[in-house]
Amino acid sequence: MAGAGYIELTGVRKSFGAKHVLNGVTLSVPKGHSLVVIGGSGTGKSVMLKCILGLLHPDSGSIRIAGEEVVGLRGSARDEYLARFGMLFQGAALFDSLSVWENVAFGLIQGRHMARSRARDIAIEKLGQVGLTPEVGNLHPAELSGGMQKRVGLARAIAADPEIIFFDEPTTGLDPIMADVINNLIVDCVKRLGATTVSITHDMASARKIADDIAMIFKGEIVWQGPAKTIDNSGNAYVDQFIHGRAEGPIQMDVLKP
């Protein structure tokens, strides 16, 4: 598995004080593939994503993108590295002081120094790709519904045509139909860009729809990784428990019984 991937994590560890969140995550995503990491709340999914993005610094281990070590990058090298990424945040994380089109165009204007008028045209085009009309571009994020905010977040993530896109719980908090709309948009957008993606979710419907490969994280370690098609016959007790949503199994929730 090691060496072939476009995104390669080897033995990534991260602790907060005495709490070990990542206990040596090893993961590989081939170029152009879509990996979905599933796992319960508090298993280290978000921390892993933040380590790859450089928002958090791993305590040890290596993270390689296209063969290049990215842990500890600083200054302009880090900016260049980040410019290859797009990210859709769980709560969309739109800048509420800016209008919708300014949000979508933000990376183009600030990161790539594009003229505002040209960035605006691209923003409107990207909004169209996620099914939003140009008029929406002039609204502010607070005026949009949750599903629309997610779509704007998606448009912002793909605005700069990134090579790698991260999706943090793309369907959490949406109704099943809107969740499916977002899933379809993700599949479409990723195909159009040919991007490599890593998503984290606990929504199995979403995982089945957008994943080429699925990995399961538990207590800061990858306990299973394989093609999405084989998820139902993984032979892994953790995966079986998770995809069937059973309370009984090897994953024990710390619930105090009365």
Partner: protein
């Protein structure tokens, strides 16, 4: 034993906090105040911090100037020195009350709003989003706020000086029966350049304190709405205390001139 544990814990917590602020300050200065510059953000913050604080600061200065004139008249009339009202009002406003009261009012108004805004951006992951869009949050958020506060606070205090002296003039001439012409001449003759400039220097320092504390607490807030509320309170309280402490230090420093 328990008492020692308490003292130790409080001391450690305080030292940790000082260290954190120092680290933040380093990033704010080295990253926030070096190119690339965001002119749009700086101008926006100048309007927000400076222009919109004018009514609050103006009213504070006016009433303080008026009250000061009354008090000084009361005191000086006991030894027939009513002519001192104008000069002491001017001195008190420019050297001390103008910068301190403007600083405290702006700390309440602007420090709170900076902490609340950045705190909300932190807990809704907007600050992380900035990073993923290849924009340094120190340059985009912290730098402009510091620059705007350091530039506009002296302007606000300059205006507060004028309004405060005017408040003293109005109270002095209307209700205390002082001669208007003599009042203005006493003010103009007595006031030295140093009186005004030392107040403006203080104001710039206070502006720096307000912006840095607001940004620091906002940046480090966590835990949703409650965390943002805590950040806002801490930003106001810490900048108010630091302003008063810095005021004493600066007064000692500038006293010699």
């Amino acid at each position: 034993m328990n008492l020692f544990a308490h003292i130790g814990r409080a001391t450690l917590a305080m030292l940790t906090e000082i260290g954190r602020v120092a680290m933040f300050l380093k990033d704010a200065l080295l990253q926030g105040l070096t190119p690339k510059i965001f002119p749009r953000q700086i101008i926006g913050q100048m309007v927000h911090i400076g222009y919109f604080s004018l009514p609050v600061v103006g009213l504070t200065a006016f009433f303080t100037g008026g009250a000061l004139a009354l008090q000084i008249y009361l005191g000086s009339s006991r030894f027939n020195a009513e002519s001192l009202v104008a000069s002491i009002v001017a001195l008190g406003i420019t050297r001390e009350l103008g910068p301190v009261l403007a600083g405290l009012m702006v700390a309440g108004r602007v420090g709170a709003s900076i902490a609340a805004e950045l705190g909300t951006m932190r807990v809704t992951e907007q600050i992380d989003a900035l990073v993923t869009l290849a924009t340094n949050p120190f340059k985009y958020l912290v730098g402009p706020r510091i620059i705007a506060a350091v530039v506009t606070l002296p302007m606000l205090v300059g205006i507060a000086d004028i309004i405060g002296i005017m408040g003293g003039y109005i109270v002095g001439t209307r209700s205390l029966g002082l001669n208007g012409f003599a009042y203005i001449r006493n003010t103009a003759d007595f006031l030295e350049f140093n009186d005004v400039s030392s107040g403006l220097i203080k104001a710039a320092v206070f502006g720096f304190i307000i912006a840095v504390m607001g940004c620091y607490h906002g940046f480090n807030s966590s835990g949703g709405a409650q965390g943002v509320g805590r950040a806002t309170t801490n930003a106001v309280v810490s900048s108010a205390i630091l302003i008063l402490a810095a005021n004493f230090a600066l007064t000692t420093l500038l006293f010699a001139d």
